[in-house]
Symmetry: C2
Subunit: 254 residues, 2 copies
Amino acid sequence: MERALQNMEHVPERQRLVRKLESITDLTEEERQALMDLPVILREFDAGHDIVRSGDHPQSCCLILTGFVCRYMLLPDGRRQIVAFHPPGDIPDLQSLHLKTMDHSVAAMARTTTAFIPHENLQRMTQRFPGLLHAFWRETLIDASVFRAWMVALGRRTAHERVAHLLCEMTLRFAAVGLAEGMTYQMPVTQNDIADALGLSNVHVNRVLQDLRRDELIVWRRNTITVLQWGALKDLAAFDPTYLHIRNLPGLLQ
Amino acid sequence: MERALQNMEHVPERQRLVRKLESITDLTEEERQALMDLPVILREFDAGHDIVRSGDHPQSCCLILTGFVCRYMLLPDGRRQIVAFHPPGDIPDLQSLHLKTMDHSVAAMARTTTAFIPHENLQRMTQRFPGLLHAFWRETLIDASVFRAWMVALGRRTAHERVAHLLCEMTLRFAAVGLAEGMTYQMPVTQNDIADALGLSNVHVNRVLQDLRRDELIVWRRNTITVLQWGALKDLAAFDPTYLHIRNLPGLLQ
DNA sequence: CGTGTTCTTGACTTGGCTCAAGATCGGTGG
DNA sequence: CCACCGATCTTGAGCCAAGTCAAGAACACG
């Protein structure tokens, strides 16, 4: 269930953290090495299981190695709002370094491998490498920037625009960590999950997706998404990638 | 229009920053002093004017000394989403330290005095006092936490719940920086602004507010808000203050 | 091949929107 | 001190985007 990572294990997966950080900031060779050498605990989670729970006081942060994860909040009567999605390379609860009580939960959307990094190891590393401290701060700031973009979607976009916007965002984020092949990527979410992320009902999400498929903007079969007409999708969403603060966007996706 | 702050000027207003940070973290005497001694540039803004604009590359952060400020984003067709409100003591664009391009704007909602703090001064101070660096990081993390709470409101709460939730939040935040007298505070926003913050129309906000007044949960005349029935408002909003990460909440407001 | 999950469809409902007009408020200048 | 004017608030009527409910189809997986 839970064990320390051995040297040379999961190297490509761990590099995704480096790649993620390098998509938003500069790292020195030393910093890259420090990240790869960070002692972590491996844990696996099945789809639908919570990785961290609202109210917890975590002692470590979880890096997603494989799989897919969401963060969500529940109202007392069970209404759910998904506030973020996280592909591999992300650390969804980085904030727990400073905010001791979790105000939301993190859940696996598919079978997920996580590397738990004890807070003390992170603290020690950021003391030694202030550059990494700033990289992590920057990462949380971009997190917040994405929240703002979602707020605009939730508050002021129509259902069609919201779905298109989410698809644009996820396309870029998967591409940024090297998990897209051209315009195709794997995102293991149900229409219900999309609904809870976009403040819609599952029925309505279904109808919107049918429209997008009918108009041949996307293909979405099982967990595989392909964007057929990036320009049209971008226009529909009024998508402006500035808020992702990704450097060196792939040319295709400008 | 714009000038350097003189010693001994605006001391109570500048202390609000200290007070704000102390509502969420511990400061040493040295850190408090460093904050008070920080060289800044004073600027005044009239209601409705932008303080920072989307697309800008600011070289300083703006501390709100007096007045009231919002952050907002616009869609190409003019739809507006307000993503945050900031009473005095807040630094709404603290993120510009790391994210060079503003992805949203900051606007004055009433005549507002700001203290612009050059990035280099902030950098120097946080190098000297790592505790302040962590305080500022923490502040941006709480910012993000508030965004998440707003996302839940925008995505999953009814109009009545949204309005009640916003009122609960603002009551606590004004109280935390000493700008509330009991359950009364001054918040210079129009019903239109509330609508743009909550993803509603101004007409509907008007009707909801009438309900809240009829049920004697609140009084709202001009810019003065008084919460008459904190318990009932809290229940209606299903308000849980955890997400504000405020230490030592006033007992009244538990 | 059976079973639970996810997707799809239709029929109906509704919360909140739009439009438009009138009332009220607060600040300004004479 | 009052008259005026633009901004804000209020009200009513009609509408529509998206929700709810419920049942059936397709799918994935053991």
